[in-house]
Assembly symmetry: C2
């Protein structure tokens, strides 16, 4: 509190131009150049661009937005040994980027980055280094692209005690699940998403939840003041969701979304990234296409919702350039003490259990028995007509239970002869948003 931040930038005189280097001239990098060119912010000057095989970039169409004075280079030392004031890192990954950014910070350059993995895994150390050298480290673009969740929460909700975060943090999963809601099947939609450039050739980072997990850990640091080990946050893939699950979800007045959530429970943080049933009345059910959304639930301020375009070159460039302006104007972020917290994936929630069976008498009784054995109460049993007996999908919903408790029962149930697929177990979100 009342920390007096004296930045290296600060020592320059008031009218000096702030020199900016871009590391990476892909989709986001070229969008940043375009946004800077379109708005001509006085005092911000793009001076260097680093990229591997830089000649290919320098002669590309995207380079037309870049001033002729810019130095293009594939030698990182041209940046790190230059007099640039701010290094903008848009390359991604931990290596070699972490080392480069450490060198930049240590030599008095501020850093603006969109690198969620780097900030989730190494953010605390980098922030310390930035503080030591009295420079800025900002990463508004690392979570939810163009949606100003990080500045909104750090500057605007610092006065609250945020008890819970829930969000849709991966646009690819949201696109896939939205399309499935309209009847398409997973494999088809994934292929479309790959063709549209929404999903990578290897979609695991998105669909298995690792991308969202990194973002959730960054938000936990800012909103819950809790430093989490990303690897300790459990994830569940959306790849096992089937079209039939959307039909059953609809009967329950729900839809299905990949939800990232974290909440304080004493000294532990409960955190998880998983597909969940979401009531249609929840703001999270309203997210369309590749939209992102974050709901921060505060002790004093109640639920605050942020939503918008979470990805894409230009929305992400908005976050990068907004950070650049803040750093250039030496506007620090509110810093509150952050503690390392251990992570639990235990949530008490009602659950949705979907089975696909070769129907025989006694199946429901056996499943009910397995659930009773772990103390889980059945809330409803749903079975839609029109499916063949030999491949019958049906659903059981439970009263609030620990996921780990149910998973014990599910392991036993999965071994039953009649089970044609591994049963699916999803948490159901209960109304976190209580409109008056």
């Amino acid at each position: 509190m009342a920390t007096k931040k004296k930045s290296a930038l600060k020592k320059k005189n008031a009218c000096a131009t702030v020199k900016v280097a871009l590391l990476g001239f892909g989709t986001v990098g070229s969008s940043v150049a375009r946004v800077l060119a379109a708005s001509k912010f006085p005092g911000l000057q793009l001076t260097h661009i680093f990229n591997r095989s830089v000649e290919r970039k320098r002669t590309s169409d995207a380079a037309k937005a870049v001033p002729a004075s810019v130095v293009w280079t594939e030698n990182i030392d041209d940046i790190l040994q230059s007099n640039v004031d701010i290094v903008v890192e848009l390359m991604g990954g931990l290596n070699p980027v972490e080392g480069w950014l450490r060198r930049a910070l240590a030599s008095g350059k501020s850093v603006v980055t969109a690198n969620k993995q780097l900030i989730a895994y190494r953010g605390a150390g980098l922030a310390k280094l930035a503080a030591l050298h009295k420079v800025h480290l900002t990463y508004g673009a690392a979570v939810a692209g163009g949606v100003p969740v990080i500045p909104g929460m750090s500057q605007g909700l610092g006065g609250d005690q945020i008890a819970r975060l829930s969000g849709i943090l991966n646009g690819t999963c949201n696109y896939i699940l939205n399309r499935m809601e309209s009847g398409a099947d997973y494999a088809t939609v994934l292929a479309d998403a790959q063709q549209l450039g929404y999903a990578e050739g290897d979609p695991s980072a998105d669909v298995d939840g690792f991308d969202a997990r990194a973002k959730l850990c960054i938000l936990s640091r800012i909103a819950l003041h809790a430093e989490l080990d990303p690897d300790a946050v459990s994830t569940q893939s959306i790849a096992t969701i089937e079209a039939i699950d959307f039909s059953y979800a609809k009967e329950l007045n729900c839809t299905i979304r990949q939800v990232s959530r974290a909440q304080r429970d004493g000294s532990v943080v409960q955190a998880r990234v998983a597909p969940m049933l979401i009531p249609l009345t929840s703001p999270m059910a309203w997210s369309h296409g590749t939209q992102n959304m974050v709901v921060a639930s505060g002790r004093f301020g109640g639920d605050v919702v942020f939503s918008g375009h979470g990805a894409g070159g230009e929305p992400t460039a908005v976050a990068v350039v907004s950070d650049l302006l803040a750093v250039a104007q030496n506007c620090g972020s509110v810093a509150l003490p952050v503690r390392r917290r251990s992570v639990s994936s235990e949530f008490v929630a009602p659950h949705y259990l979907r089975f696909v069976v070769d129907d025989k008498p006694g199946i429901v009784s056996s499943i009910a028995g397995a659930l009773a054995k772990v103390g889980a109460n059945i809330d409803s049993l749903l079975q839609r007509p029109g499916h063949p007996k030999h491949r019958l999908p049906f659903v059981i919903t439970t009263e609030p239970s620990l996921t780990s408790t149910l998973e014990k029962a599910m392991t036993a149930i999965a071994r039953m002869d009649c089970m044609l697929e591994r049963p699916l177990c999803l948490q159901i979100l209960t109304a976190e948003d209580k409109p008056e």
Copy 2:
């Protein structure tokens, strides 16, 4: 750009406690004291509370959250001549508050305020004074209470070019219109709102749009970089909306909300606060109860939505305390050049026209004739069954037209003998949110 802000706060040493005075110990003031007491932010110390008839406040239940060391006073000089670092103004109105805050700023104290009228009318001058004396002036609580729209937009969207703002900025109107949507009539709901403390005895500031107008002008400064004269922004009351309008709106897949909107059109800003028909697919249709919502539409980032509790003691206190933390940590706000802009209330939009007539042959033809005379095209004509011929409400929707053009026709139509009430003319919001 690259302005180097040197605050008076800055000169203090790093571990010094920042002293805070509250002006006003009503609902918000006492909530601020409670939030500060609950979170015990190190380095922030509440030292003074000013209120008229202060003894009544000092002995109230709300005062129990206030540390015993606090000086209670009804003499403003006790604050202005003290060594407090930050003055928090929660009294409202222009006089005498403006003079007091000018004295505070001039004597090197930063100011945090929730006073929307003051900031809308006098914000530019106060900001200049703050800059001159190298102190902070922040007003995150002046718009949308606990929803961090101001910090989110100024720190997180500075890199975009915001073309359009639309919002639900008055919780009282939103409460009234939500209740009317469920079938209640205006007078009953207004009386309830007054009893619940959501509406004042004289509800004009809320229902006639003056409260929302001040907030819209503040947001225009931050998002559109446009300084508007609040008195030049046209307003339309929600008091003429009737239950029947919600029925017709529903037939059009819409609901009705008080919408504040502003958009750049060259060197002019089109701005208006009025009840509007909102498509049910718009995020603004989702706002419940007293919720506030702001949609900022950027050239690069697309639509960004902020929503949450816009009023009430504790949500507003969150905004105040968040500003206090930012000021105490000397975190400035991104400042971009703001220009004074003239205001137009002209929007091209489809319109909803509702008439209540003593039905006779030829009425529709006369109305259609009056509309044709000004060049307005009819899009649809709606007449619900079940109303008596001698008091028949019906609706015409038009293709996109200028409101001023339609109002000319409406003035002529209002003079027709068969008109039992002044006809109602509402703009219809067209999809500003284009989900992929």
